[in-house]
Each structure stands twice: as structure tokens, then as C-alpha cells.
């Protein structure tokens, strides 16, 4: 008889505090209920407050593992990307969030974990270790990740260069990276404002990129970052020369 597949939680043996600060955290029943309730409320908020409009849904992944990436100007971004996914995928999808903002105190860490299913990304320390962990989780657990390769919210609203960390996650794998472009989020909730304003937000989804042939080294990571950045840029409504690989099926009907 074949043995059963008994897989302990990745955060097995950790205390609650360690779990909350770890990229190995796996949600249980209580967190799942939290994600579901928060997800429904936030989806309603996006629809009413930001009149979220989405084009290119046909490019969304149907099976894990996958990465959703986008330009980053606002906290609205992560909520908008997470709201794209059906519950079946959402329940195993993690938002990579800045450790010094979303996990800066135990209470915040708890809320980020229970409501958003966020995982902490420390900006300086142990990034390489955490990314290696996440790469393993993508390949072995079959989970989804929502992340912003710029590494931080843009202060001006203009897109910053992508960091190579994205490459460390997917170089040499077949994991699809789905590029998205978010427009309007900066006007709605820039980092200088405390609360979001009711401004419309548009989201465009591009065709997934895969990097199986890219070597998993420093040069390969840079290649991944460059290609992903080009794909996201090409989705911008004012893109000068859209990249045909990333820009398929995109209408450039920008709502004024």
C-alpha cells in the first residue's frame, strides 16, 4: 500500500510570534474565515469606492503555482490584485508585504496575517533566505504570490525599476508570472494620505510570462526582472510602444 501524504504545516514547531514573522506561515481555519470575510468586504470597497475596472481576466491563472505582479503606488494595489482571484486560488495565495509596515508590531502582524494572508518581506535582513523559502513553497506547496517587484510604493506615482528578487523566485522554473498594471491607485491613495479617496482604479492583466530557460543566477535574475518590467510597462494606458508578448488582448480604453 502506498503511504499517505502527511505533510506537517511549514511553520510546525514555531510559537505564535515566530509564525507571524515567518514566510513559512500557513493559514488554518480561523485565518481562512478571516481572509474570506475581509476579502468580501474589500472587494465591495473596491467596487463602490474605487469603481474597480478589470480588463484581461482571461490571462488570470487557473491553477497554482503562480505570481501576480504589478506596479506599486498605493496600498490599494495589493487589495485589487488579491480581489481578482476566485476563492479556490485565493485561499492559498499570499501577499508579500513590507515587514516594517505590515508586521511592525504584533497586533499589525496578526491583522495582516488573519485578514490579508500577508507574508512579511523584510527589506534588508534575510531577504535572500526568505526568497529561497518562497521559491520552495511555490514549487512544492503550489501556492500563489502577489508581489510588487519595485520593492516599495512609488513616491511620485511613476514606476521604479524592478528588483532582481523576482528572478530569484522564478528563474529556471515554469511558474507563470502574470503582469498587471494598475492605474488610478496613486490618485486614490498615495503614501502621503492617511485614508483612500474615492477615485476610480483600472487594472489591466497581461499574458503570463514563464522563465524555464533562464539560468538561476545573478544574470538570469536581472533578465527576469527586465522582461517582467517591460511587460508591466507595456500594459500602461499611455505606453508608447506596447510589447506584443505582454500586451495581447488589452484595450487601451482609459476612462477619463
Amino acid at each position: 500500500m502506498e503511504p499517505w501524504r502527511l505533510r506537517p504545516a511549514r511553520d510546525h514547531g514555531m510559537t505564535l510570534g515566530e509564525r507571524l514573522g515567518s514566510t513559512r506561515r500557513e493559514p488554518g481555519l480561523i485565518e481562512a474565515i478571516g481572509h474570506r470575510v475581509a476579502g468580501a468586504l474589500l472587494a465591495g470597497h473596491l467596487r463602490v469606492w474605487h469603481r474597480l475596472r478589470v480588463t484581461g481576466r482571461e490571462h488570470l491563472p487557473t491553477e497554482p503555482p503562480f505570481l501576480l505582479i504589478a506596479n506599486h503606488t498605493s496600498h490599494v494595489d495589493a487589495l485589487a490584485l488579491a480581489s481578482l482571484l476566485p476563492w479556490r486560488l485565493r485561499r492559498t495565495t499570499y501577499l508579500l508585504a513590507a515587514g516594517d509596515v505590515f508586521f511592525e508590531s504584533p497586533a499589525r502582524a496578526l491583522l495582516s496575517s488573519v485578514l490579508l494572508n500577508a507574508l512579511p518581506m523584510q527589506r534588508q535582513r534575510t531577504v535572500r533566505h526568505a526568497l529561497a523559502d518562497l521559491r520552495t513553497r511555490l514549487l512544492e506547496d503550489g501556492c500563489g504570490l502577489v508581489l510588487f517587484p519595485e520593492g516599495t510604493r512609488s513616491a511620485s506615482g511613476a514606476m521604479q525599476p524592478f528588483k532582481a528578487g523576482l528572478g530569484m523566485l522564478v528563474a529556471g522554473t515554469g511558474v507563470p508570472v502574470v503582469p498587471c498594471h494598475i492605474d488610478g491607485a496613486f490618485a486614490a491613495w498615495p503614501r502621503t494620505r492617511r485614508w483612500p479617496r474615492p477615485r476610480p482604479v483600472q487594472l489591466r492583466i497581461g499574458a503570463p510570462l514563464r522563465f524555464p530557460e533562464v539560468v538561476d543566477d545573478r544574470d538570469g535574475w536581472a533578465i527576469v526582472a527586465q522582461r517582467a518590467e517591460a511587460a508591466v510597462r507595456s500594459l500602461a494606458p499611455d505606453a508608447a510602444n506596447p510589447d506584443p508578448s505582454g500586451g495581447q488582448g488589452i484595450t487601451s480604453s482609459r476612462r477619463q
Binding site: 502527511l6 505533510r7 506537517p8 504545516a9 510546525h12 514547531g13 488554518g28 481555519l29 481562512a32
Partner: protein
């Protein structure tokens, strides 16, 4: 709700009405004080290696926290026993689910939690028919509704794990709660808890003294025949000696019945310990969690209780019934 029921549930003023309660609580306190003094003396005299000393101090400290947590609800009243056992069931289920991977199956997991809540309700209500029906009901519900997800792959595994978890941590631990429906539940529960914990201590000590042949080396390499037999003899003796005071004035005061109870606690306690060890070996983990310093998870501490609770409940119930004198179905009526 009658005055007697109210007093049973919340009457902490009656905590020490029965002399047996006073003696049992006093004995636990005495043992803890003695053990702490002993460790302090040995450490002061430099007779302990630093590693052993740290380990012993950590364990003692855990016991100073655990013992009040276990005894406190029993003294406060039946309502607190129900609450404490419910929390124990849920936390133990959580540890089991996270160790085996069952926690990823949210729907099955939710059904198990529902079963645990239902069992707890039946115990609180003092509705014996529903309480005994909870195990078959739970099994049917978990197995039946898990099919609705239309995901046949892994069905047997998640259903079997769910049923197993419910039987052990829901229905099994539930018996401990149901004891609290008896008018004199305090000495009864204390006797079972103390006998189970002493059984562990007896096994450890006699294993150290007489342990040569391994008991089940693949499952639990540190257990020996000497430890197992020593624990059986000592636990049976303990229950045989203390039992008459605890069960004084009841039809089950008889010696053979008490010896049988002691033997049952000895056997079921050690089997429960081994069952949980087998699960850990099968999964490939050392401890179930890191909840209690020095002990591991709650399941590592309460492993012996898993099988003892239902076994002791039915043996005692068989002898003189449990809660026969108390009002039943206090919430649902009928």
C-alpha cells in the same frame, strides 16, 4: 434551572465540600513543593549537570502552570470544566491537524470542529443520548459531507484523518467533560487526572530503575517493559488505595472494581502515549507543537489522557452510573 444544577455549574464555594478533594489537591501541591525543593537542593549542592538542571527546572515550572490550569476549573465548577475541556479538545485537534496536514482541508476541518462543539454541547446539556450519539453522528457527517466538495482525490485520507481526530479529541476528551455532570464530580475527575499523570511519572521512574528490555523500540525508543509493568503495578495500587476515599458512600467502593480501574488507567494511559508517539513517527516530527516549554505541544502532555478519558468514564459509569442524581437536559429540557 434548579438551584442544585446552578451550584454544580458555578458553585465554587462548594469546591472543598468533599474531603477527598481537599486531600487530592493537597497531595498535588505537596508533590510539587517537594519536587521543587528537591531540585533546588540538588542544584544547590552541584549534583546536577547544567543541562539536566535546566531541563528539570523548565519542566517543574511548566507543571506549576499546568497543575493550576487543570485543577482550577474542577474546583471552580462544572461550567469551567466544560469550557476547559472544550479548549483542550480544540487546541489538541489544531495540533493534530497541523501535524498531519489535515488543516489544509478547510471543509473537513470545519466539520471536525463542529463535531467537537456538538459533543461539548451534549455534555453541558447533560443529554446522555445525544452525547453517545455524537460519535456515530460525527463520523457520518464528516464522511458524508466531505464528498460534497467533489474532489475524490485524497477523499479517504482527509475523511479518515477527520474521523480519527474527532473520535480522539472530540468524542474521547468529551468524556472527561461529561464527568462534570455527576453531583460529586470534583474528586472523580481529580482522581482520573492525577492517576493518569502519576502513571506517566511511575513509568518514567520505574523505567529508569528496572528498564532493560525495550517495549516498542520502533515507536518509542525510550520505553521499556520494566517501566510499563512498574507503572501498571503502581497506578493500580494508587487507585486501589485512594479510590475508596474518593468513591466513599457509592456502590462501587468494592476493591476489585477499583483495582480494575487502576489497571485500566495504567494500560490505556500507556497505550495513548504510544498511539501519539506512533503518529509523530509516522509524520516524522519530534513534538506536536511548541506550546509548553519542556513538554512540547499540548498533545505531547495530554497524550495519555486521550484513551483513558472514555475508558475510565465507562468503567466508572458501568459501576455506579455518572450524573444519575443530577438534572438532565438542562438547556434543551425534555
Amino acid at each position: 434551572m434548579s438551584e442544585a444544577t446552578w451550584q454544580r455549574l458555578f458553585g465554587w464555594r462548594h469546591a472543598f465540600d468533599q474531603p477527598a478533594t481537599v486531600w487530592l489537591v493537597g497531595a498535588v501541591l505537596g508533590v510539587l513543593v517537594f519536587a521543587s525543593a528537591l531540585v533546588a537542593c540538588l542544584a544547590g549542592a552541584g549534583r546536577l549537570a547544567p543541562k539536566t538542571r535546566n531541563e528539570l527546572q523548565k519542566r517543574l515550572l511548566s507543571w506549576w502552570v499546568l497543575a493550576p490550569l487543570m485543577i482550577g476549573p474542577v474546583l471552580l465548577g462544572a461550567a469551567f470544566v466544560f469550557a476547559a475541556v472544550l479548549v483542550l479538545s480544540l487546541l489538541c485537534y489544531r495540533e493534530f491537524a497541523r501535524a498531519t496536514g489535515l488543516f489544509r482541508e478547510h471543509f473537513t476541518s470545519a466539520l471536525v470542529v463542529l463535531g467537537i462543539l456538538g459533543t461539548s454541547f451534549a455534555a453541558v446539556d447533560h443529554w446522555y443520548d445525544l452525547f453517545t450519539a455524537m460519535l456515530p453522528l460525527g463520523v457520518v457527517t464528516i464522511a458524508g459531507l466531505s464528498v460534497v466538495a467533489d474532489e475524490p482525490r485524497g477523499y479517504i485520507q482527509r475523511t479518515a484523518l477527520g474521523v480519527f481526530a474527532f473520535a480522539f479529541f472530540g468524542a474521547g476528551f468529551g468524556h472527561l467533560a461529561y464527568f462534570a455532570n455527576d453531583a460529586s464530580f470534583r474528586p472523580l475527575i481529580l482522581l482520573v487526572l492525577i492517576a493518569v499523570e502519576l502513571n506517566d511519572v511511575f513509568a518514567y521512574v520505574s523505567g529508569r530503575l528496572f528498564g532493560r528490555r525495550k517495549l516498542l523500540p520502533q515507536t518509542s525508543p525510550n520505553k521499556t517493559w520494566g517501566g510499563a509493568i512498574g507503572a501498571l503495578v503502581l497506578t493500580t495500587t494508587f487507585v486501589g488505595l485512594v479510590g475508596p476515599f474518593v468513591l466513599a458512600g457509592r456502590p462501587v467502593g468494592s476493591g476489585t472494581h477499583l483495582l480494575l480501574l487502576g489497571l485500566l488507567v495504567g494500560v490505556a494511559g500507556q497505550l495513548g502515549d504510544l498511539v501519539l508517539s506512533a503518529i509523530k513517527r509516522d509524520v516524522g516530527i519530534k513534538d506536536f507543537a511548541a506550546t509548553i516549554p519542556g513538554h512540547g505541544g499540548l498533545l505531547d502532555r495530554f497524550d495519555s489522557l486521550v484513551l483513558v478519558a472514555p475508558a475510565a468514564f465507562h468503567l466508572i459509569g458501568f459501576g455506579h452510573g455518572i450524573g444519575l442524581g443530577s438534572a438532565s437536559r438542562i438547556l434543551t429540557g425534555g
